[in-house]
Subunit: 659 residues, 2 copies
């Protein structure tokens, strides 16, 4: 053996003692664990801590701890309106950044809004309305510094399809609009109450993979929807699935297409894509793709105006209401059966909008490394949509594309949102009439370029590499959206995500452990081929909390490990198994069914006259083992601090030839 | 330090090497783990193993392994009809046990059947029918040796309420009966298909606690239902909740009660309870409570016959069809909207019946230590009910009370069921007319004594002691059944069980680790107060797989541990934290969201210039860490075999004063 380095020597010192002591522990294992046990009668504390970790894991009241009342009040108000907090040390340099960012996203959002409104089957001005009020509200209440608020493609599409299922927007535009506001109202209520009830974690149940798939699918669907404007097709299907869209595209091929429209659309699309490319190549030129849409709107509008191409069947926006948001309080359905429908749609749309906003918020918060209070965010977004629903806005949330631009343009605070909504205000007051001649084709091209960004190939590839099950969820959501509908895709995504959780808790992993040569470390023999099983004993590790959902499986699996082992041993007629050591480090919790499973395991082992030893049960587990008197059943001296200790006591019976 | 014993010395030998080597490992951590990694391209294998563990965890084909074809065929047939297997070495001594057991449960089941049929709102003979055919079928196909098949209280009640919700049994007895057969048919189909599709594990989602609560609630409800017969009330509510039952009992108090009935019922009830007490006191006298019901039926019938008490308003059975089960194939609804209703009811009743049967089977299999193939059991029970539905039987399953008697009477095989059904056959053929004068009151008393056994106080107390959350589920089910209805109680039970699983995966435990004095073992500082934190580093253990449902929480929780720690250190102005070690032994799996969370954790640590080290990631985890290039991000040399190794490498920067 190599001459040990000083370091090794000093660890040697430690370790002689370590083993002796840990051996001493092993004799007094119950002592060790009694120490580990908290007092029995702490039910309230228990419940309290569970509730705390579940709902208040972020300790929202932390800053309020031991502060004078007056200060608490101030902090309270600041908690509701973060602007009061960061507003105080706001200065001109910060404003410069926000101004530029605000102007950039404004130029990007105006054409997008008009397009997205069409996705939701709403008149164009409602898109602009939704980019005026909500960003203002958010600026005061929101805590993300980089998110850009407004209508977004996916939510607009989702809302459009869900509403269309209830009311036809062509035959009953009024009711349709009213239902849209109702849905928006309840979307806001949903978001706010999720935040207030501290149920923010619920949106975590939509897995990253599912979101990627859903977004991708939605992007494709939206792009396909744009073929209407792009090809200038008059009568177009109201379904969003690829099959019926393609059918109505092809059927209208021989007469329905309009070459002038296609010409305009194609040329500007290539222009926009080229701008996007420039932006990708050189991050400094981020503003090129950002303002390209507005430029192409201006150019194309002017072009159509002078050529009067609209006479040749080039569809144009035709009319956008002038002036700012009218009130829509009295339009919301608070009675009748549309109330329920609006509520349902609102919940779904609200959740999706929330997922997108929170995802964005987290991404950029991580980039700039500031904490984002999920629940507070939800309250902000919710209030914003509730107020929005009363001022003729439909569901608004954080937009991926615009937030990215906002970030790259160097925004510092939510002031950029204020700037943007200022610009939108001016647009509404002054220049909406100028959009009269804007060809729909250009909006189609703009939306296509925008949504392309939602298809994240790299993420999909990574998901495939990392976790096949996630990949299934991702693809399920993707194809669900494309081939059936947005809501079905969403449903698929959620259910696959749940299926995964359930699978995890029903069929946990178990592993046979072996001794790593020249150490006292015991590891999975599959993972470490050089780990050697100790003759005469079987060491099994259970890799999950033992709950009713898996207790039977775990019991039977362990017995199967044993059966396999004994089979092999018989074959090679080696020493039989006398001890079964269950390594419980990963067993974080156990319930009554779990205890029963252990008892049954113990009994059937006893019949085979094999001793059951437990290694390193955690706090919650040892607690319950005592409460259920299981420790008395198997004997306190059968519970050890480490597998090594357990193995040591087995030695007397079975000679370990050291590997 | 004490003079080390020889044993300690030899472990010392081991341990010097251990540390040096494991330290050597730590330098070559990536090497270690590369060894641990299986080859990349094993997607198929991966999926195959998942499927295997999920659906074929019990290796049903194991005995077929490397056998000649002819043998395989025999084994196949034996697998379907276990009787062929145990039948071959069946002998007289075994038969004696089975005969006695069979007669005992027969005497118990006959009066119970008649009563249970009333619970299901069916004419009495259908109870007996269901104790004739199903046990026969089960005897050939079932693999439990102790279960006693027949109609049971809970399922009868459940079926009764569910059917009554669809059709009123008084106004439309024919349709009601037909729907009952339809439900039974689909109950069988459900059970069989669960078995064939290897979905047996689904019933594990009804937690033990929930079952205890549900059973208790059902028992109370059933007992309350018996007040009708017990007090001789004519018009009685059709609802099963305690409130409406009590109301109809009290409203009928001043005129509706019949004192003769009460007299008979009360006296025999006390007799039955006394018999039960004797059985409890002296296990040898198990037959006393077993035959007491039949005796009291005979006595009371005779008594009523001579006194003609029925003239004084003592309700009697009046009429039981003579003869064995008529066919009912043509009565099952295979069309119309009753098909769907029957299907729904069947699925629910089938699942509940299955849960009860499997629970019983497992209990006694554990007692006699023989394996029970859950999926095979389901196929047997399913077939039994399908055949039953075609021979005028309603849903039959394993009965708690009768199975216990069967076991205590010393049954050896399912032959006891054959004996029982033989006795039932004779009863149907010969003596049913004699039941004409049997007072309903006696049946009420018998059922009450029977269901009392379903209320398991000890279990409830144990549940309370062990797991508070289980207790909530238990009580939820209990009160759900009592105050609302059986199906609601069931729903509550299931949903609380699920809520628990979700909570588990959303808010996993995390723990700060400290070094146990004089060892290299690191444990939860809460559990082991003498475990000392290592200055300069923070060791956090994550106690769960890291999935989308908890990845964000885990990331934020770890950062919070860090924040708290740093706060304290500042307060005591101690050395700041330079290293964060994440002990990953319990982290059994990770998905894409989990990887992202780790990346974000790494980044925000880097900003605080704290190094991230990982200790002992499992196979699946290290696999994915590599696939996602996370290992390259933090550096391969930052992954260690044990926490001790990780701590060693931190030493150079931060001197550990040994505790």
């Amino acid at each position: 053996m190599v001459h040990p380095s000083p370091e090794v020597l000093d660890t040697k010192e430690i370790d002689i003692r370590s083993m002796s002591s840990s051996h001493r522990h092993s004799d007094q294992a119950p002592y060790m664990h009694k120490v580990g046990m908290p007092s029995k009668q702490n039910l309230l504390k228990e419940i309290k801590s569970t509730v705390k970790e579940t709902f208040f894991s972020d300790e929202p009241l932390r800053p309020f701890k031991d502060q004078p009342r007056s200060r608490k009040l101030v902090l309270g108000i600041q908690a509701i309106f973060p602007i009061l907090e960061w507003g105080r040390d706001y200065n001109f340099t910060k404003f410069k950044g926000d101004l530029i960012a605000g102007l950039t996203i404004a130029s990007l959002c105006i054409p997008q809004d008009i397009g997205y409104a069409k996705l939701a089957n709403l008149p164009p001005q409602y898109g602009l309305y939704s980019s005026f009020v909500p960003p203002l509200v958010y600026a005061f209440m929101g805590s993300s510094r980089d998110i850009a608020i407004g209508p977004v493609a996916v939510v607009s599409l989702l809302l459009g399809t869900l509403l269309q299922d209830e009311i036809d927007y062509e035959t009953h535009p009024k009711e349709y609009l009213r239902l849209a506001f109702t849905a928006t109202f309840f979307a806001g209520i949903t978001q706010a109450s999720l935040g207030l009830l501290r149920l923010g974690f619920l949106i975590d149940f939509l897995s990253h993979a599912a979101v990627v798939g859903f977004m991708g699918g939605a992007a494709v669907t939206i792009a396909l929807q744009q073929l209407k404007g792009f090809l200038g097709i008059k009568k177009f299907t109201k379904h969003s699935d690829i099959v019926s869209v393609m059918r109505s595209v092809l059927t209208s091929a021989h007469h329905g297409w309009n070459w002038q429209t296609i010409l305009i659309a194609a040329s500007f699309l290539s222009f926009l894509l080229f701008a996007k490319l420039i932006g990708k190549r050189n991050k400094k030129l981020f503003w090129v793709p950002a303002i390209a849409p507005l430029i192409s709107v201006i150019l194309s509008t002017f072009f159509v105006y002078i050529t009067r191409a609209d006479k040749d069947g080039v569809a144009i926006v035709r009319k956008i209401e002038k002036g700012i948001n009218p009130s829509s309080v009295n339009q919301i359905y608070f009675t009748g059966d549309y109330l329920m429908k609006g509520f349902k749609i609102g919940v779904v749309a609200g959740m999706v909008a929330l997922t997108e906003a929170v995802a964005i918020g987290r991404t950029f918060a991580a980039k700039k490394d500031y904490q984002l209070d999920g629940n507070k965010e939800m309250v902000a977004l919710g209030t914003m949509n509730v107020i929005g629903s009363m001022t003729s806005c439909y569901v608004a949330t954080g937009s991926f594309s615009r937030s990215a631009v906002n970030y790259m343009a160097g925004c510092n605070t939510a002031v950029s949102n204020i700037v943007m909504s200022g610009v939108v205000l001016l647009t509404l007051e002054l220049i909406t009439p100028l959009f009269k001649y804007t060809p729909n084709a250009i909006l189609a091209s703009i939306i296509i370029t925008a949504v392309i960004g939602l298809i994240d190939f790299d993420a999909v590839i990574l998901i495939w590499k990392i976790d096949k099950f996630d990949f299934v969820a991702c693809m399920g959501a993707f194809f669900g959206v494309i081939f059936i509908s947005v809501e079905i895709g969403l449903l698929v995504a959620v259910s696959i995500s749940f299926a995964k959780i359930l699978l995890q808790v029903t069929r946990p992993r178990t592993a046979l452990l072996g001794k790593l040569p020249l150490t006292t470390v015991y590891r999975n023999v599959e993972q470490y081929p050089d780990a050697a099983k100790v003759p005469g004993l079987l060491i099994v590790r259970v890799d999950s909390a033992i709950y009713f959902s898996n207790s039977n499986y775990i019991k039977e699996r362990i017995l199967r490990w044993l059966a396999d082992e004994e089979e092999q041993l018989k074959a090679k007629d080696l020493q039989r198994v006398d001890f079964l050591i269950v390594e419980m480090s990963p067993v974080t919790d156990i319930d009554t069914s779990g205890i029963h499973a252990l008892e049954e395991l113990y009994r059937s082992l006893k019949k085979r006259d094999i001793e059951l030893l437990l290694a390193n049960p955690g706090q919650a587990v040892i607690d319950k083992l005592y409460a259920s008197k299981f420790t008395d059943l198997i004997g306190n001296d059968k519970i050890f601090l480490t597998v090594a200790d357990a193995v040591l006591t087995c030695k007397p019976k079975t000679a370990v030839e050291d590997v």
